[in-house]
């Protein structure tokens, strides 16, 4: 498990990092290294140079931006789990992040790395999608913002262009919503076979709005639009919710792999979506 040779730089500014990346299309950004290092060690990636973002000020931490919470790309999973602003306004993100791997990985891995890596089995992309987060990006051409619905393009592929760095994720505050992240994995530290990020808003015992994002049900995270529509206006009660959840896999195209075949994943998505929504709705 010895990685191939590569150059290593640790620029002090974002501009410098973007400069290096723009000049060398085989350079790779290093955040927490929890996904990149395994790839290097298996020799599945062989970048010429690795650009460590760790020394760049301002990429880490959580800020209140009125209607949004801004989470710096280099904020670690551990920090997300323990941040009071996130707890107050984006509890779903904290809950999902708590299920990521083990404490060692959570202390190093970052939210930006998880999003940029775009593993459909990762727990956080589905949350970002369900909550309609926005991705703030800086590249050779300046800054831009990409909505979650456009950020995840394909398996391990995002809308990030060569030379671009993800700097932060802006998440709309979820005040007044209730939520639940339901993860199904074979062992405590394994990746999700299926995960469901669910949030609901209730008025007088009825669900007025629901958001559902699915983990590992396709090559990208999946927004379960059909369930969201089916939930609108139904009573926040188990029977009605489970009925609505029957369309949970409508938008999905799940893979068959070692941990599950597609038909079982579809079944799980329906069951787990029902459970996640029911938990979120307190029923």
């Amino acid at each position: 498990m010895i990685p191939p040779r590569f150059d290593y730089t640790r620029p002090a500014t974002l501009a410098e990092a973007v400069g290096i990346l723009a000049a060398d299309e085989d350079a790779k950004v290093l955040a927490g290294g929890q996904s990149l290092l395994p790839l290097l060690r298996f020799r599945l990636a062989s970048p010429t140079s690795v650009v460590d973002l760790g020394a760049i000020a301002g990429l880490r931490g959580v800020a209140d931006e009125g209607g949004h919470v801004r989470v710096g790309a280099l904020t670690t999973h551990y920090e997300v789990v323990n941040d009071p602003l996130i707890a107050a306004h984006c509890g779903l993100l904290a809950q999902a992040t708590r299920t990521v791997a083990d404490p060692a990985v959570r202390h190093r891995g970052t939210i930006g790395g998880s999003m940029a890596h775009a593993d459909p089995a990762g727990d956080l992309p589905a949350v970002a999608l369900a909550l309609a987060a926005e991705f703030l990006v800086t590249g050779p051409g300046g800054d831009r913002s990409v909505p979650a619905a456009e950020f995840f393009v394909d398996y391990l592929t995002t809308a990030l262009e060569p030379g671009e760095v993800l700097t932060a994720i802006r998440i709309p505050k979820l005040d007044g919503w209730s939520f639940h992240y339901e993860k199904f994995s074979r062992t405590a530290q394994a990746w999700a076979i299926v995960g469901v990020a669910a949030a609901v808003r209730r008025v007088n015992g009825d669900i007025t709005e629901a958001r559902v994002g699915l983990t590992n049900m396709g090559t990208t995270p999946v927004r379960a639009d059909s369930v969201e529509s089916a939930c609108r206006g139904i009573p926040a009660q188990a029977d009605a919710i489970h009925e609505a959840a029957r369309s949970a896999d409508a938008e999905a195209d799940p893979p068959s792999d070692l941990s599950a075949q597609a038909d079982y994943r579809r079944h799980l998505a329906r069951v787990l979506t029902g459970r996640a929504l029911a938990r979120a709705a307190g029923s």
Partner: protein, 790 residues
Amino acid sequence: MTTTPEAPNLGRAQARKEDARLLTGRTNWTDNIRLPGALHVAFVRSPLAHARITGVDYSAALELPGVVAAFSGADFADEQGSLPCAWPVTEDIVTPAHPPMAVDEVRYAGEAVACVVARDAQSAADALEAVDVDYEPLPAVLDMEAALADGADLVHADAGTNRSFLWPLTEGDVDAAFDGADVVVTRRYRQQRLIPAAMEPRAVVCRPEGDSFTLWSATQIPHVLRVMLAMTTGIPEQDIRVIAPDVGGGFGSKLQVTAEEVLALLLARRLGLPVKWTETRSEGFQTTHHGRDQIQDVSIAADADGRIRGLKVDLLADMGAYLMLVTPGVPILGALMFPGIYKMDAYSFSCTGVFTTKMPTDAYRGAGRPEATYAIERIMNELADELGMDPLELRRRNWIAHEEFPYTTIAGLTYDSGNYEAATERAVELFGYSELRAEQERRRAAGDPVQLGIGVSTFTEMCGLAPSRVLGSLRYGAGGWEHASVRMLPTGKVEVVTGSSAHGQGHETAWSQIVADRLGVPFEDIRVLHGDTQVAPRGMDTYGSRSLVVGGTAVVRACDRVVDKARAIAAHMLEAAEEDLEFSGGVFRVRGTERPSATIQEVSLAAFAAHDLPEEMEASLDSEATVDPDDFSYPHGTHLCAVEVDTETGRTRIRSYVAVDDVGTIVNPMIVEGQVHGGLAQGIAQALYEEAVYDTEGNLVTSTMADYLLPSAADLPDFTTDRTVTPSTTNPLGVKGVGEAGTIASTPAVVNAVVDALRPYGVRDVPMPCTPERVWRAVTGVQDNEGAAQ
């Protein structure tokens, strides 16, 4: 377990003296050994399951920085010999040649075809990509039944068959037993392939010293390895020293003579420099021998009242591509254990060893006995269901009663002792068996989507491997004795040299406890030496729960001889007759008098000075003993498992687990507890989590820990453990062995619980591992894309 004033150490939960260095890693793991000038080896491995090698070109690798040499199998064809199989179980067994580096043909993905040697590990790893190997693909042979069919593609074309051997056994009139039966239950069980996954990867270092060699290896068997290296390479045995430094687990996977060990020796000889190799985790998953992999066809015949009449077992055992050290012996070790703890009139067994293009299988924790125990304990539950009888009641009607010991089983083994009633009674009480059955009824009646299942496993196993005469009769190439020597140093401290080779078991602590009581010296004054053929020249190493039973007995005998010598000198010192001396707590006293006494330390110093020794007495108390056990020992126990199965998702959660084991006398309850916990984890892992999967081309797809699921503490329940103590009568300590018990007992306990939960849905089996998907398919009948309903 209580200690006594005369024996204050035996039975004490003494903290392990080796743990500080093992847990902090501040010790000599093989990979920590840095020798000046050492070269690093990396292996080019076949990406194909089966192919002819048509060319190996390493010239480009030789050009790379740091690379010193490269070799193909052909470059060593004249000297590398064939990796040994020490257990040819039948006279006409097919044992194909097994070159450490493939020369003409590769027969499993991962087989070594070439190697590069470089100044550092990084350069060696980089150079692998520069070695060009041309292959002409041959058909992969993956399915055992297809492999035995007429016209099947062959793993070894020369052999003309994929069958390695057929090993039959028949006792009693099997036809009569089945013909007259009221009930016959027939099942097919599958022992999936497992990856032992010891915490420390394999590693080897070899240093040439003139014409001789020192080889360090992360091995369980330094002594056997030395003999085999000499026999394989022709290097004289006296010129090879093998050292197993601290070794981080093996579970049987380091009970092997590996290609990399042989090649390290040959490379060191060829290059005249030290060489080193450490496997990567994925390399280890692919090329460290695998475990289990059997198809078991089992039939049991019984009377209507549940009395067992007969048992038939037909096994297909996947050997993989070659026979390694004890590959064919593993299923044969199980042959005698299928009848378990039960009385019956007739038994037949046959095992066919089958070649496939996969990594060879070999010993893995339990080796043959978990497979046997699984089959009998699973089918006992099915028989109970067929008869409408509680599975515990069926067992009570058939097990050997405690007053019937010693008892010779239908398979011909004589179980020396046991008390199945006591262990079961205790387990039932701790488990709350009837309360859980009542809850199960309630949930069934209510149609609860989360069903409760109760699993039973009453098991025994043969340990203390092994009487040499028995091994000989089973055609094993070596004996089963063990050796120990005990040296009293001039200052009264003690060195114990053992032929056992601990790799995590805690022998240094347990042996010290035994010696401390036997010699009456402080526990702290004892040092246990092992794992180096120069320091501990005689030994048979550690596997098969043998070390305490056989090696511990050798330690006891050697201690007794030390005391005998000391007694003679003490008598001389105290001017008394030997018969008048009593020895206790390390002090010789003249019985019934107030006369001066002599401590064993004083005697030791007197022996060293040798100024005034009795006539003909040598100036040493040192003694040794080689012990060949009279018979096996038979630990047993009752394990009960309660699971909750979510029928909507298929998820199984172990709610409670009770293990009551009888491992005879207990030297150190803390070590016993640790062995039971670790064993349970591995047995539960087979039931629920682990499976080595090859794809249709013969590539191992579970090649990382992300795909091969080893459970962690977070996945396991709190274990409730207890013990009954029925000492073994086959050794002076009364011990039976505990290294494998948890693994053997727990797999059927868990699967029996899963199936029990699902019986209302018509489920009679769930193949292992009982993944949520398989459970869901079993419940719903939805077929997978290979057409299996579960």
